[in-house]
Structure formats: structure tokens, C-alpha cells
């Protein structure tokens, strides 16, 4: 008999196993994102005590609830400002925001562009499933033109946000986009983002078979993944301007921005030094 030992899953410590089973549909990409995230934390060797994960509301917003760190499930759209408060008040925390595209760019759109502008040292992971999953598949700011959702029964008439482009223009120091068919890239990217001092942003395009896929000629999750397989183009360093996503066109993925700028926490420290020199 051959011998092998498989004991407890080394990743179990990062999960609240007592909360399983999770609420997500089968075929949903959120499990892949969760897996990649905890592996990145494991690989980074940061003290799990100092990891804080903040989310807004939505299917994606439920990720932190399954993670065994300090986790915060805030109100719809307000994860970013909550995370900013957390980070500024305790800069030694590694603060992550994991939330949906609707949460971060519709109701929370104002917050995310200002967080990027201020270059607050947090890492934002935005899961884009092209619709509002949790409320049953309504149109959102990333829904491609002509796509069908529950509130665009004749096809979406609004142009969609190109998230990496928005983030790059707002001032993020790290911007990347991947699909859930590239979990290894997601992991590497989260690790890279953690190494950035400043506002880093990763968009992860993920299937939502229940609310979006089946209304848009993707009968199941596998078909959505197949679509990603054929349509994804990896082009690191590409101009995020080219990253528009249409219903049937290519999906540009890769790392688009990787720069360095003075961070918000650096400036806070400089300000405090300045104020106290003047006072003395």
C-alpha cells in the first residue's frame, strides 16, 4: 500500500469553517476569488491578526464573512470610506476591500475615485459579474451595452464603465484585471498589490450564471468560463483605455498600472511633523 498523509487543509485556518456551506450559487466565481485571496495571504506571510477585510453589500460582499480575519460587512457602497477610517486610525493593519462592481462603482463610485486620488494605502478587489447579483440581476454600471438583465429586458442602452481606466485616471498606483479563469494570476496580482504602498486595484471578472449568464446566451457557468477562455487576451502594460468590454468582444486582462507615488499615510505623517515643528 502506498502511503500518504492528508490532514487538515492548510487553508482552513483562514476560513470560518463553521459558517459553511456558503450562500453562493454553484458555478459562481466568488469561490475562486476567495480561494485565491486566502492563498495570497498565506503566501505573503503577513500576520493574519493584522489583516482586515472590508466589504459592502452584495454577493461579493459576503466574502469577508467566510474569512477568519477581522472582517467588516458595512452598508451598500460604503466599504471604501470605512476601510479608510480603519487604515488611517491603525496604519499597521493590512486593509483590503473586497466588493462587487455595483457596490464599488455605482453607489460607491464617488468614494472609490477619491480613495484612489488620495492614494490611501489599501488594496481593493472588485469582483465584476456585469450585474447586481444579490438583488436578482439588474443592470449595473459595468453591464455591457445590449446585455439583457432583469431591468433591461430589451437590452442595456447605457455604456459601461471600463473600471481599470477609471481607476488609472483617478490615480491608483496599481491596476490589474483578471478573469476567474486565471486564479494563479489573481493570486500573484493580490501579492503584488500587497507589496504596493498606496491604493491598489484589482478587477476580477467572474461568472454569475444565476442572474446574468443565463440571460445572455451563457447557459451555465462553464459556458461563461469558455467565453472567457476564448475572449481573454493577456497584455501586461496595456493602456487601460483599451479595456472596454462589450457583449461579445475581447476581454483585455493584465497588469496595466504599476507606479509609485507619495501615499496618504506618508502625507499624514509629514503634516503632523510640520504642525509640531511650527508649534515648537
Amino acid at each position: 500500500m502506498t502511503m500518504h498523509e492528508v490532514e487538515e487543509n492548510p487553508l482552513d485556518v483562514y476560513l470560518r469553517a463553521d459558517r459553511m456551506p456558503h450562500i453562493w450559487c454553484s458555478g459562481c466565481g466568488l469561490g475562486i476569488v476567495t480561494g485565491a485571496f486566502i492563498r495570497a495571504i498565506q503566501k505573503s506571510k503577513v500576520d493574519p491578526k493584522l489583516v482586515s477585510v472590508v466589504a459592502g453589500i452584495g454577493c461579493t460582499g459576503r466574502i469577508p464573512g467566510y474569512l477568519n480575519f477581522d472582517t467588516f460587512h458595512t452598508t451598500h457602497g460604503r466599504a471604501i470610506p470605512f476601510a479608510i477610517g480603519l487604515k488611517i486610525a491603525k496604519p499597521e493593519l493590512h486593509v483590503f476591500v473586497i466588493s462587487g462592481d455595483g457596490d464599488l462603482f455605482a453607489i460607491g463610485g464617488n468614494h472609490i475615485i477619491h480613495a484612489a486620488r488620495r492614494n490611501v494605502n489599501i488594496t481593493v478587489i472588485c469582483v465584476n459579474n456585469f450585474n447586481y447579483g444579490m438583488t436578482g440581476g439588474q443592470v449595473g454600471p459595468t453591464t455591457p451595452e445590449d446585455a439583457r438583465t432583469t431591468t433591461t429586458p430589451y437590452g442595456n442602452i447605457e455604456p459601461a464603465f471600463n473600471l481599470p481606466y477609471v481607476m488609472a485616471s483617478a490615480g491608483a498606483v496599481y491596476v490589474a484585471r483578471w478573469t476567474t479563469l486565471q486564479p494563479r494570476k489573481i493570486l500573484d496580482s493580490i501579492l503584488e498589490a500587497m507589496q504596493k504602498d498606496g491604493f491598489s486595484f484589482i478587477e476580477i471578472i467572474s461568472p454569475c450564471p444565476t442572474a446574468y449568464g443565463r440571460r445572455n446566451a451563457q447557459r451555465d457557468a462553464m459556458e461563461t468560463m469558455k467565453f472567457y477562455q476564448y475572449k481573454t487576451k493577456v497584455k501586461n502594460g496595456a493602456d487601460p483605455k483599451e479595456g472596454d468590454i462589450s457583449l461579445t468582444g475581447e476581454i483585455l486582462t493584465g497588469k496595466f498600472v504599476d507606479i509609485q507615488k507619495t501615499t496618504y499615510m506618508d502625507r499624514v505623517k509629514m503634516l503632523i511633523d510640520k504642525a509640531n515643528k511650527k508649534g515648537a
Binding site: M3, H4, E5, V6, E7, E8, N9, P10, L11, D12, V13, R16, G35, R39, K43, K45, V46, G65, D70, T71, F72, H73, T74, T75, G77, R78, P81, A83, G85, L86, I88, A89, K90, P91, E92, L93, H94, N110, H111, N121, L181, Q182, P183, R184, L191, Q195, K196, D197, M222, M225, K226, Q229, M265, D266, V268, K269, I272, D273, N276, G279
Partner: protein
């Protein structure tokens, strides 16, 4: 304790060549999603017949003459369980383990501690109410302010912006009030005393997150310097019309604590009190100022630092990892863990159980919401503060708060000169409403007159409690304070 995968048997770990080196399949890690098989461009992977330790059929390589593995490594890239590795990833003996490299994670600069920070400006000052409240917050140990400017609360923000860096604190001007209160809640969970200041329209925007604060039992201070409304109303003129909004602005059952100062001195004192109440009862607290008090300049005496009594959070007693973070003590208030202390907090605005886990059971809602409300209702006597003025023999008691109470005091004196036995009950605590006191007075006083700068808000509470006494109302739509003569005239009418 978690153990790593130890794959001792090479047979369990199949390998083949790719451009990136050899590929390994760690069969026991496979969860059978089939992505590698489904997406293999050459269709050379198949499900094996054997089961792995998890009970799935892991993939294996099966090549025939027409289909050959071209070593593209796509399977390794897409495996969500990272069960297929290239050589580069698997140099160590434990092929299952992600190779361990030191990854430099930058540390954000810490906020410097200011030795001898002048946080309590002991002595006499000539401050307006807004500035006094800002100084009160600093004296209470507040180190984080997030806000968005709005008249008539701007002086709070301006003063704090100047003072915070001097004491090693942070002033952040957020993009709006929603962000401000959210950041305040975040900072509070990080373990820092945090506050915001606003006025009517901003207060309205904050409501959803005030609810989040109540639900998650987050201690923080919200100063609302009231102005005329609704909508943008009277930006620079007084009103007391956010009283009901302070209590009921956010949705769902909850309790709130709100205090109303009537002088710059009280703005200072009550701000400290607000922080103490917030930390004692783990709840957002509102300092309900009005424009006149905010903009009135008077003498403010700041005591010595050692004379200021501060209340801190109750710390969890058990070991991190073992405490249920929402388990309340006998006083119905749970101790509060902070982020980064190892308690693995789960904070959610969803109805949650003692562990902090969301729950959709009516019993949990019953238990938790009742407790969140009761922790304040039960302690109402400790929280409630009021001031009585000439009520001992009064035949008419005027109920007032904030700036109005100063006018009423004058009117009461004028009435006494005219032989009318008048008195005043000044509410300092607005919420919880000093119900007991009003009921007690109602036993001996037949006539109550409520004077406030709105079209009838606190009067409803007084009516509720003063029954069967007669309750009259003298309102004002905002923009100006009542004159003592107006109050006197109404008092005379009431006493007829």
C-alpha cells in the same frame, strides 16, 4: 493546528514536461471541478478512475497518437485549487506547498505620538460653541475626525483641522457625509475615538450608517449643529427641528443617545460626556447643538487634565479566538474588541448572533435588537440629565432645551415678577427622553408649555408623558429664537 500537505508517494504526484518545467498534479488537492479537463486545449486530460482523499476523481494525463500534451501549462493556470503546479512552483519537497519566499510588504508609517501634546487646554477661554465642542472632543481623547463642511458646523471642522496634527490626530475631509460617518465607524473599530460634525442635510445623509453604528454597537460621536430645514433651508440660521431625525432618522428599531447643550461651556463639557456615554454603552451618540449655541461666544473654563473623567471601552476578557464578540455582560453591553487584536471580529449590519455571524432567524432578531434597545432603556436613569428651574411651586412648567432654554429662563423670571408661578424643565438629555421626570412633574403641575424652534417635535413626547395635564405648544419655524416676551405672553394665555 493546520498541517501542510505532505505527499510522500511519488505515484500520487504525476508529473510531465511543460515549457515552464515539469507539471505536477497533487491529486488529493483536487476538488473535481473539471476545469483542467474541460479547458485543456488538447483534450489530453481525463478523469482518473481512482478516488482521491476528498472523494473526487482527479485528472490524469492520457495521451494517444492524435492528441498529445503540448506542455502549455494552461491547466496549471486555471486550477482554482492550485492542484496542478509547474516545477518553478514546486521546488521544495512538499510539492503541495506554495514555495515560501519572503515577500516584502510595505509598512505604512505610523502616526507619531506627540509627547506632551497639548490636548487639554486648561484655563479660561473665550470660545464659541463649535470651537468649545471641538476642544471638548480633543480633551476626551478624540484622535480622528472625518467630515464634510456644512454651515453652521464648519467651525468644528476648521478648529479640529488645526488642532488634530498638533496632538497626533487626523482630520480627513471626506467626499461627503456618508463617507465621513463610514470612516468614523472604521476608525472606531480600529480603536480610536472618532467623531464627525455636520448639520441638517449632512445629518440626513449619515442616517444609514448611524443605523450601522447602532446595529454593530460602534461608539462614536456625531455633532449636529441644527439649522432651519427641510432641505437646505436656512444655512446660517437657527432651528431645533432635527430632534426627531436624531431619534428616528435611520430605519429599524434602535435607541440613540442625544444631548443638547445651551452654552459654549456645556458644548465643551457635554462633548466629553457624549464620548463617555458612547464608550460605556457602545453606541453612536449625538450632540444636538443649534446654530445659536454653536455661534455664541462665551467664557469656557477648561479643567486640568487629571480632573477630566474619561470612560474607556470594556475589553473582552477571554482569549482571542475563544470569545464570542457580541456576548453581552449583565449590563447588556458586550465588551468591544478592536481590529488587529486577534479576535477575528466579524462586524455586520445584518442581524447577527453572539458570534457576529449573520442570522435570518426571527429569534435572533428578537434577542439582539431587544438587547440593543434595552441596554439604553434599562439605563435611562443613569443617562438622563435635566435642569429644573423654579419648579417646586410652579403652576406652569415650560419645557425647553438648547438655546430656547435661555430665553425661557428669562421669561420665567419675568412671569414670577408678574406673580405667575412659572418654572422651567430644561432637557439636557433629549434621547432617551426624560420620561420619568415629566411624569413626576405631571402629578403636581396642571399646565405644561413646550417651547421649541420647530412645528412640534418634543411636544409630542411631553404630551405622551404629561397626561392628564394640559400641554400647550409655542413653536417657531426657525430662523430666529423666541423672545422672552413671546414666551411670557403664551404663558399668560396658558394660565388663564
Amino acid at each position: 493546528m493546520a498541517t501542510t500537505y505532505i505527499i510522500k508517494d511519488d505515484e500520487k504526484t504525476r508529473k510531465w514536461k511543460t515549457p515552464h518545467g515539469e507539471l505536477y498534479i497533487i491529486k488529493d488537492r483536487c476538488k473535481g471541478c473539471g476545469f483542467c479537463i474541460e479547458f485543456c486545449p488538447k483534450k489530453v486530460l481525463v478523469e482518473s478512475k481512482e478516488f482521491n482523499a476528498k472523494g473526487y476523481h482527479p485528472p490524469e494525463l492520457q495521451e494517444d497518437e492524435t492528441k498529445k500534451c503540448i506542455n502549455c501549462g494552461f491547466c496549471a493556470m486555471i486550477c482554482p485549487e492550485f492542484a496542478i503546479f509547474s516545477e518553478a512552483d514546486a521546488q521544495s519537497k512538499d510539492v503541495g506547498q506554495i514555495p515560501e519566499k519572503e515577500i516584502p510588504i510595505p509598512e505604512s508609517p505610523k502616526i507619531p505620538e506627540i509627547k506632551k501634546a497639548r490636548d487639554v487646554l486648561t484655563g479660561e477661554h473665550f470660545w464659541n460653541g463649535d470651537v468649545a465642542a471641538a476642544e471638548g472632543a480633543i480633551a476626551a481623547g478624540c484622535k480622528f475626525f472625518a467630515g464634510y463642511p456644512i454651515t453652521p458646523s464648519t467651525e468644528v471642522a476648521e478648529h479640529i483641522a488645526e488642532r488634530m496634527p498638533q496632538i497626533g490626530g487626523v482630520y480627513v475631509q471626506m467626499e461627503d457625509e456618508i463617507a465621513s460617518i463610514a470612516a468614523v465607524l472604521g476608525a472606531a473599530w480600529a480603536g480610536v475615538k472618532a467623531m464627525t460634525a455636520t448639520s441638517g442635510p449632512g445629518f440626513s445623509l449619515m442616517q444609514e450608517n448611524i443605523g450601522l453604528g447602532a446595529m454593530t454597537e460602534t461608539p462614536c460621536l456625531i455633532i449636529n449643529v441644527q439649522r432651519g430645514g427641510p432641505s437646505t433651508g436656512l444655512p446660517t440660521l437657527v432651528a431645533q427641528s432635527d430632534v426627531m431625525q436624531a431619534k428616528w432618522g435611520t430605519h429599524g428599531d434602535h435607541e440613540i443617545i442625544a444631548l443638547a447643550p445651551n452654552s459654549p461651556q456645556e458644548c465643551f463639557d457635554l462633548t466629553i460626556e457624549c464620548f463617555n456615554l458612547a464608550y460605556k454603552y457602545r453606541t453612536p451618540v449625538v450632540l444636538l447643538m443649534d446654530e445659536s449655541v454653536g455661534h455664541m461666544t462665551e467664557r469656557v473654563v477648561v479643567p486640568e487634565k487629571s480632573k477630566i473623567k474619561l470612560v474607556d471601552r470594556k475589553k473582552p476578557k477571554g482569549e482571542p479566538g475563544k470569545v464570542k464578540i457580541y456576548e453581552a455582560d449583565e449590563d447588556l453591553v458586550p465588551p468591544m474588541p478592536y481590529a488587529g487584536e486577534g479576535y477575528n471580529i466579524h462586524m455586520t449590519g445584518l442581524t447577527h448572533d453572539e458570534r457576529g455571524y449573520p442570522s435570518t432567524i426571527a429569534e435572533t432578531q428578537e434577542r439582539m435588537i431587544k438587547r440593543i434597545c434595552d441596554k439604553i432603556r434599562v439605563h435611562a436613569d443613569e443617562i438622563v440629565r435635566y435642569e429644573e428651574f423654579m419648579t417646586e411651586d410652579a403652576e406652569v412648567v415650560v419645557v425647553a432645551y438648547g438655546i430656547t432654554s435661555r430665553v425661557v429662563k428669562r421669561a420665567v423670571l419675568m412671569a414670577r415678577e408678574k406673580g405667575i408661578k412659572a418654572g422651567m424643565l430644561r432637557l439636557i438629555t433629549i434621547w432617551p427622553f426624560p420620561e420619568k421626570k415629566v411624569r413626576e412633574l405631571a402629578k403636581k403641575v396642571k399646565n405644561f408649555l413646550v417651547v421649541e424652534i420647530n412645528y412640534g417635535q418634543i411636544v409630542l413626547e411631553v404630551e405622551r408623558c404629561a397626561c392628564p395635564s394640559k400641554v400647550s405648544f409655542l413653536g417657531k419655524m426657525g430662523g430666529a429664537v423666541h423672545t422672552p416676551e413671546e414666551v411670557l405672553k403664551k404663558m399668560m394665555e396658558v394660565c388663564k
